[in-house]
Amino acid sequence: MTIIDDTDYGTPRVSSDETATVTIDGREVTVPAGTSVMRAAAEAGIQVPKLCATDSLKAFGSCRLCLVEVEGGKGTPASCTTPCADGMVVSTQTEQVKDLRRNVMELYLSDHPTDCDGCARGNCEMQRLAQETGVAEVRYGLDGANHLADTTDHTNPYFDYDPAACIVCSRCVRACSETQGTFALTVEGRGFDSRISPGGTDFLSSECVSCGACVQACPTDALTERSVVQLGMPTRSVVTTCAYCGVGCSFKAEVQGSGDDTRVVRMTPWKDGGANEGHSCVKGRFAYGYASHDDRQMEPMVRDTIDDEWRVVSWDEAIARVAEGFRAIQEKHGVGSIGGISSSRCTNEEVYVVQKMVRAAFGNNNVDTCARVCHSPTGYGLNHAFGTSAGTQDFRSVEQCDVMLLIGANPTDAHPVFASRMKKRLRQGAQIIVADPRRIDLVRSPHVEAAFHLPVRPGTNVAFVNAMAHVIVTEGLHDEAFLRERCEDVDGYLGFIAQPEHSPEAMEEETGIPAADLRSAARLYATAPNAGIYYGLGVTEHSQGSTMVMGMANLAMLTGNLGREGVGVNPLRGQNNVQGSCDMGSFPHELPGYRHVSRADVREIYESLWGVTIQPEPGLRIPNMFDSAIGGSFLGLYVQGEDIAQSDPNTQHVEAALRSMELVVVQDLFLNETARFAHVFLPGTSFLEKDGTFTNAERRINRVRPVMPSRVGRDEWEVVCDIATAMGYPMSYGSPAEIMDEIASTTPTFAGVSFSRLDAEGSMQWPVTDAAPHGTPTMHVGSFVRGLGQLTTTVYVPTTERSNRKYPLVLTTGRILSQYNVGAQTRRTPNSTWHPEDVLEIHPADAELRGITDGDVVELSSRVGATRLTALVSERMPAGVVYTTFHHPVTGANVVTTENSDWATNCPEYKVTAVQVTVATEATRAAAGEAPEASSAPMPAGAMARHR
């Protein structure tokens, strides 16, 4: 395999119902009206030379290389800025334009390093064009004024900017503006002095978010990945899927070597990726180095007790130990005394075999997944309302959205590539309502300003969504026809929500949202041609998480914002495969495809295929497993790629549960926090080694292709099969493709999915059925999956976690752009340059009251625990609410979070903890029972866990 060289059409695709037919160099081509001559030529297979044009950016017309001649026209227009007109006859290679190009190119080269061999990229668009245009020498010499002595900016950890190689084509500036929407780059100065500048400072201290779009756009060697400078150019590429957030960006892994000697040179975003369409963020683009980090554990290990040293053993010995241990526990304590936890970081195929191992080999339903602690209320709530546990739209839908209602999500940090799409649409004139306690970037940042920021107090989401619905119904803004035709329990709901106790005025004190703002926001949402709801864990991780999901579904149904593009209810999933791990039957009550274990017809499908009896009763959820462990009835646990000791709430309780177990098996990349309590450690594989599929937040099934073979000797799905086999239930597959075939044959929504179909289509969004053989971008068109949409009376019940005199502040948690979840991966990359520690953001008034200034070490305590971090006084916070991230185990943010959880799904209430904050003193340090130095001593690992 070689490098995949994408065709660059020069200017973006135009959509139009009208067409134009033109003749270019004798070839006739028909294109949508408004298409540039350059793009039409490319579609006809003719590449017009260009430097400032690329098809992800609007035409700019500055480089003057793409000049062409048009029959009957005057002069030599730039083909990038000239739209096709019907009947146009264009010549791209006349002597006149060739001569012009050669002269222009010669001028460029008169201020450009001559040493192409010494250039890191080895080949670039500039060099190729110099050859094509036939510039043999530069007549002007190189002694004139030039920029060749300009110095390189090495401050960004991932890429260099060498102004000497820059031709000031502005592609980087435009990529930063148009694609990423950060506007961190500009052309500084004028004329000959013009230089690309990150705002008058170096790259690291600039507004740059290191998404890599500028590097991707650069046609010369001016912006180059550091890894390319160090390793040289890659020799082959493999299209695969990013393993960070739920956006699920497609990348080309560009590598050198093959087999065990494979070395990743860079990850470049894939233009044909359905989720990202050629864009990326700092994590997926650059932060893949953890996969080859020295901390990675490469061999299986066992120990008798958690106080013993680890002992490296063979795979066979480790697997035998697991199988014998689990069977022994079951013999003594019953079939239900062991269980497994699957990971949203693993592939669908890996997750499927874990739940199969639990159901078929363990013989119980004690399987749960880390989605329990993030989006389980999404699955429950959306299934209840619409009949499908998934978002209703694809990402592209946002391009049709007029009003976005963003609730409890911070996309610019947590889902950056989708945030760029949102910002693009906002710059086109769409509006956004942000409901979030913090003033996140989408409230106001360069070129984006929210129509309303509703600073909803943590824990009062349902009161807020009810007030929105109340305004819509009592002001008659609801879509009566949609409700009558497509929904049920309409009158009951309308009567409920119209009650005066739901009014914004009545709820103002509870939610902290000024009633007038809420009313205006509700009107804006209800009257938009297309309004879409986007939400994150600020919705789900509450005691009323499921209720809130239903409340948002109510809003969308009330206003008829379902079943077409630009609308819907869209969860922004935290992890790469949260959607998929839930789809695969990871919950203790559901078989793959969200079918309850009590359904005999569904059990029958698997019983006949697997040759076992499946329990008709749901198994234990994660918190039940912990409680049962402490109670002495649950003694064996297999944990796949999730660091429950760091990511689950109330760390003390989790640790006590793990200590109570007889056999804890951890499969992970690193010796994580949970591994401190494990008896067997099985090394896992990184996404670069996996063969399978991830399903993103828009139900898009993307292929994950192995860039290199497993570095630990076995694939994770193989290990799971080996454990099951050793336990006496033979499980084996020839390849992950066979696992997907089994999934497809047993799960109706996946009926049309196979690796070969995915390879042919690029990706598909489930349901993929006979009726929708290419997948389903928009759900619930015409009717809901459950038939009629279910309106639900969403009674607001305040959380029991209230601030009081002792704990007067509310702590809420979130994520930051450069780090990911518990940081197991990103902390092992240069991303820590930007975020070396977690900080506690606190409102200036709350800080002043406590004598806290910026940079103070503070003590953060709740009724369950205490921890210490550095304070950041910030006007992003509302008074009364403090905020931190949980990327660094030293912080132990979950030491303070409580066991409150969603009433329906047990999703923990991470977003609301009553706390007190004080300046840390020696005394409070002693009271907290630990010195921070001690807790930071073992470099913690913890691969994969809580997803924001």
Binding site: T182, F183, A184, L185, T186, V187, E188, G189, R190, S197, P198, G199, G200, L204, S205, S206, E207, C208, V209, S210, V282, T412, D413, D441, R444, S445, P446, H447, V448, E449, I816, L817, S818, Q819, T833, W834, H835, P836, E837, V839, D854, G855, L872
Partner: protein, 161 residues
């Protein structure tokens, strides 16, 4: 204090809070006009003599632009000077009409006379619309016509040499 992640790093606190407040009030006052950035920058130069690097983030914040956006505009126009002006400023027209009437000699003489001066700076402009009476120029902002080296000397007699 620390970087907040590759979310846009916060601008450093301005060294001169009084100036920052003044620039902010200029920016806020003019933020409602159409295309507010140029009028704001003109007003900042008018009030403070030049655009300080620390003014850039203040203006960017008020207009909800990036710092790079503002810097790009500031650096494009020579009139948005980025260093404090000298006590006296000579700007001589070097466009075609004035050149035809001998502007170059006046310019050369002025440039030579105040070379290295910290009190007087000599700049060039291209047409003040006073072609019939060239060579033209401004002395501390006031238009003068028919400038010769001698007339220039006479007009600036009072200036420290």
């Amino acid at each position: 204090m620390r970087q907040r992640g590759p979310s846009p790093a916060p601008a450093p606190a301005p060294a001169d809070p009084e100036r920052a407040a003044s620039v902010r009030s200029i920016a806020e006052e003019l933020s409602g006009v159409r295309g507010p950035l140029l009028p704001i920058l003109h007003e900042v130069v008018e009030t403070h003599g030049f655009v300080h690097d620390d003014d850039v983030p203040v203006i960017a914040e008020v207009l909800n632009l990036s710092r790079a956006d503002v810097l790009g505009v500031v650096s494009f126009y020579h009139d948005f000077r980025r260093t404090p002006p000298a006590a006296h400023r000579v700007a001589l027209c070097r466009a075609e009409a004035c050149q035809a009437r001998g502007a170059e000699a006046t310019y050369a003489s002025a440039a030579d006379r105040w070379a290295g001066s910290t009190e007087v700076e000599v700049g060039e402009v291209f047409c003040l619309g006073n072609c019939a009476l060239g060579p033209s120029g401004t002395l501390d902002g006031t238009l003068h016509a028919r400038l010769t080296p001698d007339r220039l000397d006479a007009l600036t007699e009072e200036w420290a040499r």
